[in-house]
Symmetry: D2
Subunit: 135 residues, 4 copies
Amino acid sequence: MSGTEIIVRYAETDQMGIVHHSVYAIWYEAARTDMMEQAGYSYSRVESEGIMLPLSHLECDYVGGVKYGDRVIVRCFVEKLTIARLVLGYEVRRKGEDEILSTGRTVHAWTDTNLNMINLKKKAPELFNLLDNIK
Amino acid sequence: MSGTEIIVRYAETDQMGIVHHSVYAIWYEAARTDMMEQAGYSYSRVESEGIMLPLSHLECDYVGGVKYGDRVIVRCFVEKLTIARLVLGYEVRRKGEDEILSTGRTVHAWTDTNLNMINLKKKAPELFNLLDNIK
Amino acid sequence: MSGTEIIVRYAETDQMGIVHHSVYAIWYEAARTDMMEQAGYSYSRVESEGIMLPLSHLECDYVGGVKYGDRVIVRCFVEKLTIARLVLGYEVRRKGEDEILSTGRTVHAWTDTNLNMINLKKKAPELFNLLDNIK
Amino acid sequence: MSGTEIIVRYAETDQMGIVHHSVYAIWYEAARTDMMEQAGYSYSRVESEGIMLPLSHLECDYVGGVKYGDRVIVRCFVEKLTIARLVLGYEVRRKGEDEILSTGRTVHAWTDTNLNMINLKKKAPELFNLLDNIK
């Protein structure tokens, strides 16, 4: 997975002069969207089939600050998949650099549109197998 | 209408050290929510009755900057009401001060949940009369 | 100016199912950043020279809603330039389509880092001429 | 500590109809601001003394969704304090209810304005003792 390129927006900075920490969760989500689209099953398609993927857990580690105008690459990868849950990992780097600026993890539940838990393998076996294969 | 008190959040600042201009639209919306609740017809009730109020126009004038930790009062008032549209005005002041820091205006269309225009007076006469009276 | 491509983020939607109106100001800003970079004088360079460009006025017209996953092109152009002010215009379209979904305008003052007005032609003649030429 | 009351903003929801998960970090920050102000040493004062408190770690657990118009109480408390770091905990409840909707934790480094680590006990003993006492 090549990762998602983000150009840091002015509105994403705060008065400390670096990107506000809450923004990384939004970048992770953009990378998550891309990862699923590149995997061949867009998140919009997932939702259109009545499957929701609400977050139950988020964690972010911040190593280095990111500034307005920086170009960063956010990589999203499947850490763990079960019939009930999806665990994704994230790495943020400045474009063209190896140094990791942030790592993250999100845990998601597979639910229906009423946010009740579902068994993904039964409800959408194609999606389950696809994510299982890129793990 | 007494207005809505907002305590400026750190995340609302940018690297210029003042509140980012996009945030005012969110404050106007908080004041709009309060205005309707104080008027006796909450926006949640409006939506639950299948009426949406999407914005068609937004304008903001910024006179003075607002800083992290400032307490501001945002006043929202009905400028104009028709069966098809609602025009609201806004004023932002630091709490306890007269000087206006920002003025704004939003224009909304009355629509159904498919975002098709409706005639508010027919669809929800109570709401129409209520807003007409506080104009 | 070719415009800035934006992939709509999930966090940018609201419960109406479309992009929240406050987000457009952030997209305009991303397009403004690109426009200046493409013009050869990045906004980061402007700020590093002690010149700030705070907004004094914002207006947005919303014609059509934009959804999660949509790709939009935001075009930013110089409407008017004086020694004291910069007026920029914006157009938002879905990628590959002609229909305009939103138009906007921002008015900026040229200031020093204390947000006091400056004469741009004196302070940064190269920048003034460059923007004057692409008007 | 009585906690910080937040009225959920429309812009804070996403198309799932609940508050976007990235928003909780902003609420935690509002509660953190309040906690320090109630403790008698506002975060603005901290920054004005050249002390910054960047986040190095964030984690959030989401148990129940929160909707537009809900009133929530966010409680922030000191979990751990050292000369180099501050660990804070958070709990989110609907106002007047006991059920926890979200818990969180943030880890902060004490730094100067260049984001270099400092020894808080030496640099600001009053602040260190104050936070140590409410632990």
